[in-house]
C-alpha cells in the first residue's frame, strides 16, 4: 500500500467509512499481531489486544497526525494495551509453550527447541527491551519507528535491541549445550 493510498483510506475512515478502515486493518494486521504475539507470548491474548488496538485507533483517528506511519501508531497503542494487560496479569501468566503446537509457519524453518528457548528468553527480557526486540528484530521496524512507538529515545531503543539480541543469542547457545 502506497503512502498516498493509506492517506486516502485514513481520510475516508475518519468520516466513518468502515470499508476503508477494514482495508487499513487488513494491510497492517500481520505486523501489529506479529509484534504483539512476540511481546505478549500468549497468542490468543495478543490477537485480542491487536483487535482492541485497531478499535481504539479508529475511535481516536482524528488525533492521528501522520507524524509516524499508521502501522507504527497502532503498534504503539497495542504496546501500551499489552503492557497494561501484562502488568495486571503478572509475568508468570505470560509463559505459554502451547503456542508452539499451533505453528502457522513451516516446521523445518527453526527447530522446536530453538523456538522454545527463544520464547523463554523473550519472556525473561524486561518489557521495553522485549518490545524493542520484537519490533526491530521480529517485525523489521526501524530503530526510529520503534522509538516513536515505545516513546523512548533512539539511543535507548538501539541499546535495548543490542542487549536483547545478546541475551537471546546466549539463550540459544545455552539450549544448544543441553
Amino acid at each position: 500500500m502506497t503512502p498516498h493510498d493509506e492517506a486516502r483510506l485514513i481520510a475516508a475512515a475518519r468520516k466513518g467509512d468502515s470499508r476503508a478502515y477494514a482495508a487499513l486493518v487488513d494491510a497492517h494486521q500481520q505486523a501489529v499481531r506479529g509484534f504483539l504475539r512476540r511481546f505478549n507470548g500468549v497468542w490468543a491474548d495478543a490477537d485480542d489486544i491487536a483487535q482492541e488496538a485497531f478499535v481504539t485507533a479508529w475511535a481516536k483517528l482524528n488525533r492521528f497526525e501522520g507524524r509516524s506511519s499508521f502501522r507504527s501508531w497502532v503498534s504503539g497503542i497495542g504496546f501500551r494495551l499489552a503492557r497494561d494487560a501484562r502488568r495486571a496479569r503478572g509475568r508468570a501468566g505470560a509463559r505459554d509453550a502451547a503456542w508452539l503446537q499451533t505453528q502457522e509457519v513451516a516446521e523445518n524453518e527453526a527447530s522446536i527447541e530453538d523456538r522454545i528457548a527463544l520464547e523463554r528468553a523473550m519472556a525473561e527480557l524486561p518489557d521495553e527491551q522485549r518490545a524493542a526486540v520484537a519490533l526491530c528484530l521480529g517485525e523489521g521496524f526501524s530503530h526510529a519507528e520503534a522509538a516513536a512507538i515505545l516513546k523512548l529515545p533512539l539511543g535507548t531503543v538501539k541499546s535495548h535491541v543490542t542487549r536483547g539480541r545478546e541475551k537471546l543469542l546466549r539463550a540459544l547457545e545455552t539450549s544448544d549445550g543441553h
Partner: protein, 102 residues
C-alpha cells in the same frame, strides 16, 4: 547453522501470523458494537436528565401552585385560552389555504 542464523530463523518462525481475513471484520464489528453501546448509554443519560429536569420543574410548579391557588387558576385559564386561540388560528389558516387553492 550458527547461533546468529538460528536466532533469525526462530524469530522469523515464532509468532508470524498468517493474514486473517476475519480479523478486519472482527475489528469493524467490535468497533460498531462499542459505538452502539456508547450511543445507548448517551441516550439513557439524556432521557434521564430530561426526566429529572421535568420532575424538578413539576415539583416547583406544584409547590408554587399550593401557595398561590388563585394565581395558579388564572395561569391555567390563560394557558387554556392561549392554546384555544393558537388552535383556532391554525384551523382558520388551514381553511383559508384550502379556499385560496380553489
Amino acid at each position: 547453522m550458527d547461533t546468529e542464523a538460528r536466532l533469525r530463523a526462530a524469530l522469523r518462525a515464532a509468532a508470524a501470523p498468517a493474514r486473517d481475513p476475519g480479523f478486519a471484520l472482527a475489528v469493524i464489528r467490535a468497533a460498531e458494537a462499542g459505538r452502539y453501546k456508547k450511543e445507548a448509554a448517551r441516550s439513557v443519560l439524556r432521557a434521564g436528565g430530561v426526566a429529572a429536569a421535568a420532575a424538578a420543574l413539576a415539583a416547583l410548579g406544584l409547590d408554587w401552585a399550593a401557595g398561590n391557588p388563585a394565581a395558579f387558576q388564572n395561569g391555567v385559564l390563560s394557558a387554556a385560552g392561549l392554546i384555544s386561540l393558537v388552535g383556532l388560528a391554525r384551523l382558520m389558516s388551514a381553511r383559508a389555504r384550502v379556499l385560496l387553492k380553489r
